[in-house]
Symmetry: C2
Amino acid sequence: MKQSQLFTRTQKEISKDEVSINAQLLIRAGFIDKLMAGTYTILPLGLRVMKKIEQIIREEMNAIDGQEIFMPTLHPKENWIKTGRWDSMDDLYKVKDSSGREMALGPTHEEVVVPLMKRFISSYKDLPFAAYQFQNKFRMELRSKSGILRGREFMMKDLYSFHADAGDLDAYYEKAKQAYLKVFERVGLKNETYLTYASGGSFSKYSHEFQTLTEAGEDSIYVCERCRIAINKEIIDDLEHSCPECHEGNLDEKKAIEVGNIFKLMTKFSAPFDLKAKDENGEDIGIVMGCYGIGLGRLMGTIVEVLHDEKGMMWPEAVAPFKVHLLSLGENEEAQKIYQSLVEKGIEVLYDDRDTSAGEKFADSDLIGIPYRVVVSKKSLASGGVEVKRRDESESRIVRTEELSNILK
Amino acid sequence: MKQSQLFTRTQKEISKDEVSINAQLLIRAGFIDKLMAGTYTILPLGLRVMKKIEQIIREEMNAIDGQEIFMPTLHPKENWIKTGRWDSMDDLYKVKDSSGREMALGPTHEEVVVPLMKRFISSYKDLPFAAYQFQNKFRMELRSKSGILRGREFMMKDLYSFHADAGDLDAYYEKAKQAYLKVFERVGLKNETYLTYASGGSFSKYSHEFQTLTEAGEDSIYVCERCRIAINKEIIDDLEHSCPECHEGNLDEKKAIEVGNIFKLMTKFSAPFDLKAKDENGEDIGIVMGCYGIGLGRLMGTIVEVLHDEKGMMWPEAVAPFKVHLLSLGENEEAQKIYQSLVEKGIEVLYDDRDTSAGEKFADSDLIGIPYRVVVSKKSLASGGVEVKRRDESESRIVRTEELSNILK
């Protein structure tokens, strides 16, 4: 894409009420725009990142036999009364239509997915299976200070699994754990992300979170480097400050962001909706469930918190808005040819063809944080080609134009 | 995909309160589920159709330089007060948080996209450009009788274009018109869909709708076959019952569904937000806008209304959930091999490997409406291969297994 045609542009300064690094950088670089606290528009560069994150998650959910669906935002009050959450959930948005009918704006979808499955589950033979969606969720966050890490509305992947017994749920839960670790590895957060034991609620001893280390985190976790797991501070006392796997007590307290969580719901939500199946003997069995969430905007924000420097963002290739940022410094003819040839080879290029200073182009390129910067100038051409620098390198090198696409492959 | 693994299944009967053909067939075939009136979950088969429709629209919007974004659902009341629509729009859902702050659930996004663009437009040089999104919209429809043609919430593509003057808008509007016609052609509704003159509101003489002929339509249009255009009944009197292009008066009244509309907003929304730019002389100019909408669920429902028979749906290849429905009649070994080989060739196959009767498999296949049905049975193998039938053909023919993929290419 030609940068001159992109309707967004970068900004040097933004409003002082934006205190989080992720929102500051994403707003300055033109990836997002703040409509009101906790409510953001995703702009073209940001949406390219979100769509790549979405596709990575989709592939990993499909790999564990998740079937994609799309559920509504407006939920009937009756369903929320049934689970008791109409009154117990403080951050639930409620809306009324002119006939007086009350509805909830879905903050999660157990109240929809469970009654839905009554239509499709009657026998143990219908089990197990899992369904997931990408959907905007709504939560009444009044003080949102952490940019896109916590919002009034936020894009989330939520997967729900359905099983005939707890053993089958356990087996699937382990597969989901591995799928989650793969997602965080693919988006570039492998080293910083820990499977974390957390409170299990009334039905399970533990649930599991995936926590990514960064000073911007709102959570405190205790890390066991030996097992590469962590424990959420909320249960560290129950565990007597030791690792639940190796029982070692030498754990480091660190700040982290919860980038995903998985939960054994057991029959907590199937029971109120009377979702059950016949077993081999024709007896009723209650359906055992798991749920598995990842916030996409939060994940994008976490990547920014972890991977940036004082100049701007540093996107991992798998989720970068483009692979290559091609900068033309007053030398448009050769740059245009290179742009065409890279695009023809299927390489995603943002081509800075704007009529602005070299200094501005370099600063914008560092801020936007595309993995490869390729500079075409009279000077580079005189030296035999183009200047190539990865965003995380400090020095560029000259590469012959003919060899460029091999390096970028 | 193996049909035995699909969590949905077909139904013979559904609730009698579902009067529209589109909802009846889509629910029976397991493409959608009704949560409450006008509110549907999109199930795996339905989502495959929706995603294909989405991708066709995305490609055509990108082809006219649309830049994809994603705006919030929760809109600040202030923005809707500014345009006067907080009070004038009857079907606006309003929601309040616990601090007393009121918000609208977006039924359309002028109130968000216009203030957003104040950040990016300052000079005529920033113009023209266009931004679009796929977003769930919310409208307080109390009596929804037309299935997914009209809902309380519905997925919509909305594009907004920004121009320095009316001439530039006119030129873009013509391009958008052609892009819309391409969309309806690609989804299989070319012959039934008419560019339709409709009321322009306070700023333009006409707007344009795209109306698809079907008895299920809520609109009445007058068709001029000579010009292949139509006139919405609402303005036929103003036009003295004649075609605005050839001035012929011999027009047929027909029922149709509005599948898209495009509108010259001029400065109607830029003015209240004071969205303007400097011209070449440094003088302020008001930004001239157009908006362009297509409802994706409505489009899916319209395809069902137009393309079905008494047995079920008949999907055009471009939007079908799968290209091939492979039915194994007690002959799983050979069918399994054929399934593998088609999947390896990149052909999308739904493989009915279930242990049910031939009659049920044929009935389900007709209901689901995948373009090609391929039957593998002892009988077909004895005759030298597999039975192939297009959904719109009445007779099948025997095709040698080795030739199957050539026929399906």
